[in-house]
């Protein structure tokens, strides 16, 4: 069960990466499709935060992958985003980026440092016998570790909330 779910999380992360890149392109061109801005961006951002939250809880509580300190900091950023974005999606609050982007940016910064430690274990020092931050519990497709997936999630949320903000221009 767990290997299948890990693969699903990896594939979803790849999809989120595609969404983030697509969103950046739309923002750069200044032409965001109305359907994406009005109907898809915030629900999709909510879904990304919810899957990240559920996934991290499954991996720690069911699969037994103990979260390290840096994992917890990323959780602190990701978990409230599920509610914040969910409420914003229901209320069509397109100014939620003012709250969501700073939180997601902090989470993304922690995820980047976590990835650096994973790739350079010497930077992390010796391994905590219970929950070392340098351990790679999951590594899908050779590069998608848990903090990498979290980073993609945070970036996708940032892009999608920016896509949904009121100032964007409709694509014709």
């Amino acid at each position: 069960m767990t290997p299948v779910l890990e693969r699903i999380f990896g594939l979803l992360a790849l999809m989120a990466l595609v969404v983030a890149v697509g969103g950046v392109v739309a923002l750069a061109r200044g032409r965001v499709p109305a359907w994406l801005r009005d109907d898809v961006a915030l629900p999709l951002a909510t879904a990304i935060a919810a899957v990240a939250t559920g996934g991290s809880l499954y991996l720690s509580e069911v699969a037994g992958y103990l979260p390290c300190a840096l994992c917890w900091y990323q959780r602190i950023a990701m978990y409230p985003l599920t509610l914040i974005l969910g409420v914003a999606a229901v209320r069509h609050d397109r100014r939620v980026w003012l709250t969501a982007v700073p939180i997601a940016a902090i989470g993304a910064a922690v995820a980047v440092w976590h990835i650096v430690i994973e790739r350079n274990p010497a930077l992390a020092g010796p391994c905590d016998p219970t929950a070392p931050c340098s351990i790679r519990w999951v590594e899908e497709f050779g590069f998608l570790t848990l903090p990498t997936m979290a980073l993609i999630g945070f970036l996708a949320i940032i892009v999608l909330t920016l896509v949904a903000r009121p100032a964007t221009t409709d694509a014709r």
Binding site: R7, I8, L12, D38, G64, E118, C127, P129, D170
Partner: protein, 223 residues
């Protein structure tokens, strides 16, 4: 929420909106089903594998356990203490003893899932294979932190793949040997002199030149 912070629906009719949302929802479900299908088909069944219980040793520990340490080497209160004598076995059942007076020993506590241990073993094994360690010092690895849910399992294959040819004492599933030696983090080094007394403990990676210094210290001087 004020009207300025909420969107105004731009799609022409309620029917049109509903149809668009339905299509988006169906599209989302199709993509999700596709992902699940790919995941199921691309994840092979993991065959029967060695478990922690299969691999864990049953070492006998005699003597007072050492207090946790290794983080503050110069002020380690256990320097000079008699180390516990542990009688256990290698992965293949060959008896291995640590802490017994007779020959100065270097003990290298390793957890296979620990990335720092992986780097340490990768750098130490070639040096050992080239005869880098002085002959009057015995080096024994202790395989601890056994956990079959963690990466780089099982540890016996890991030691073999790194070309490590020194004895490996296998800890039990509770890490009793590690606790007896006061392990606080891995890798964890312990130097014992010929009387079986602690000369130094160090948590973290040691470069080869520091291992040589430690070997000289346990042997009582340079070779």
């Amino acid at each position: 929420m004020s009207s300025s912070t909420t969107s105004k629906r731009t799609t022409s009719t309620p029917d049109g909106q509903g149809r668009q949302r339905l299509l988006l929802a169906i599209g989302g479900l199709v993509v999700l089903a596709f992902i699940v299908g790919i995941a199921v088909l691309s994840t092979g069944e993991r065959g029967s594998r060695v478990t922690t219980e299969d691999l864990a040793g049953n070492p006998a520990i005699e003597g007072e356990p050492l207090a946790p340490g290794g983080q503050d080497q110069p002020n380690d209160p256990e320097v000079g203490s008699q180390a516990p004598v542990v009688t256990g076995a290698d992965f293949d059942g060959t008896p291995v003893t640590i802490g017994e007076p007779g020959t100065p020993q270097l003990l290298m506590f390793m957890a296979s899932w620990c990335p720092a241990c992986q780097e340490e073993l990768r750098s130490v094994s070639p040096w050992l294979a080239e005869g880098g360690l002085r002959e009057d010092v015995a080096l024994v690895a202790v395989s601890t932190g056994l956990d079959d849910t963690r990466p780089n399992w099982p540890p016996d294959e890991w030691f073999e793949s790194e070309g490590f040819e020194y004895p490996v004492l296998v800890d039990d599933a509770d890490g009793s040997v590690a606790s007896a030696y006061g392990l606080t983090a891995t890798p964890f080094w312990v130097g014992l002199d010929a009387q079986g007394q602690v000369v130094a403990r160090a948590a973290g990676m040691l470069p080869v030149d520091q291992i040589q210094v430690l070997a000289d210290a346990v042997a009582g001087g340079p070779a």
